[in-house]
């Protein structure tokens, strides 16, 4: 066998991001099996991982993990380039932008719960704007805003609490 001329040597950072992204993807795929009454209302369990990555390793890693989750998760679910993929991508990007800003809030006052709720709201915001512009070009989509907002509040709170709990339980940061 001809030895490959291309050599990719993954760094420890790559391995860590891959591991965390795998955790997020597993949660996203598991969540897809939960029957839910309304399309678009999902617990967003993968965001627990994103929050932990953000608070532990910083925003850049969180962007990597979030985008890997969107791409790999949609490939696994057969959603790649389907409307749901673009909605997930839009939601992910807006919530990453919001998290990038919100992470600078004073950490003593605003914990993972705040970040989680802010990210959840940014997520539905991005999705609704894309849905309004592209999928349902009618203001009727905004009729569901209160439902999505309530879901974002509840799931944002729960995910934030779980992330805060896991961060407390975790061992001190290591690069491995």
């Amino acid at each position: 066998m001809t030895p490959s001329t291309i050599e990719i040597r993954p760094t420890a950072d790559d391995a860590r991001i891959a591991r965390l992204a795998a955790a997020a993807i597993v949660l996203a795929v598991a969540e897809a099996a939960i029957p839910l009454p309304l399309p678009g209302v999902k617990p967003g369990l993968a965001n627990i991982v994103i929050l932990i990555v953000l608070l532990r390793w910083g925003w850049q890693d969180a962007v990597w993990v979030a985008l890997l989750r969107v791409f790999a998760g949609s490939l696994l679910l057969g959603q790649f380039f389907a409307p749901g993929f673009f909605l997930a991508l839009a939601g992910s990007l807006t919530s990453l932008i919001a998290l990038g800003a919100a992470v600078h809030l004073p950490r003593h006052w605003f914990g993972p719960v705040s970040l989680s709720i802010i990210a959840a709201f940014a997520h539905i915001g991005g999705q609704l704007v894309l849905a309004r512009v592209w999928l349902v070009p009618h203001d009727g989509v905004f009729y569901l805003v209160p439902v999505f907002a309530l879901a974002a509040t509840v799931f944002g709170l729960v995910n934030g609490l779980i992330a805060a709990h896991l961060l407390r339980e975790m061992t001190p940061p290591s690069s491995g």
Partner: protein, 131 residues
């Protein structure tokens, strides 16, 4: 450990600003629901007899209206926020069985007696006939 104690263990994870964020999020939910979902609230009743406008009554106080038609008298009952056809001489009683109408655009039609009742006002999104 009781479930209440178990729940209380989560409390230290919430920081003061988180409570603020939560309150803001919940008030956004309430405000958006109030702003977006109140559009369907009707504020008046339009009663027609034989195709002509018979009465236009505000939906704010209770009263009943007697509308004469070819078969007899149709009685329309109005209460704050809702209205119905209470009695009708028609043979099939469809308009009576519809019960209370509460949404803007909702209509009850007593075709045999040529009387119709429709709620209007608020933001009229669609009428129940065309929809």
């Amino acid at each position: 450990m009781t479930s209440l104690q178990r729940l209380a263990r989560w409390w230290p994870l919430i920081r003061p600003g988180d409570v603020l964020t939560l309150i803001l999020a919940l008030s956004f939910c309430g405000a958006s629901a109030a702003a977006l979902w109140r559009g369907g609230a009707p504020d008046k009743v339009v009663v027609r007899a034989g195709g002509e406008l018979f009465a236009e009554v505000p939906l704010s106080r209770a009263q009943s209206i007697e509308v004469p038609g070819p078969l007899g008298v149709t009685v329309i009952e109005i209460e704050p926020g809702r209205a119905r056809v209470a009695e009708d001489p028609g043979p099939r009683q469809y308009c009576v069985r519809q019960g209370w109408l509460t949404r803007s655009g909702a209509a009850a039609i007593c075709a045999p007696n040529q009387v119709s009742l429709m709620l209007s006002g608020g933001r009229n999104q669609y009428d129940s006939l065309n929809y």
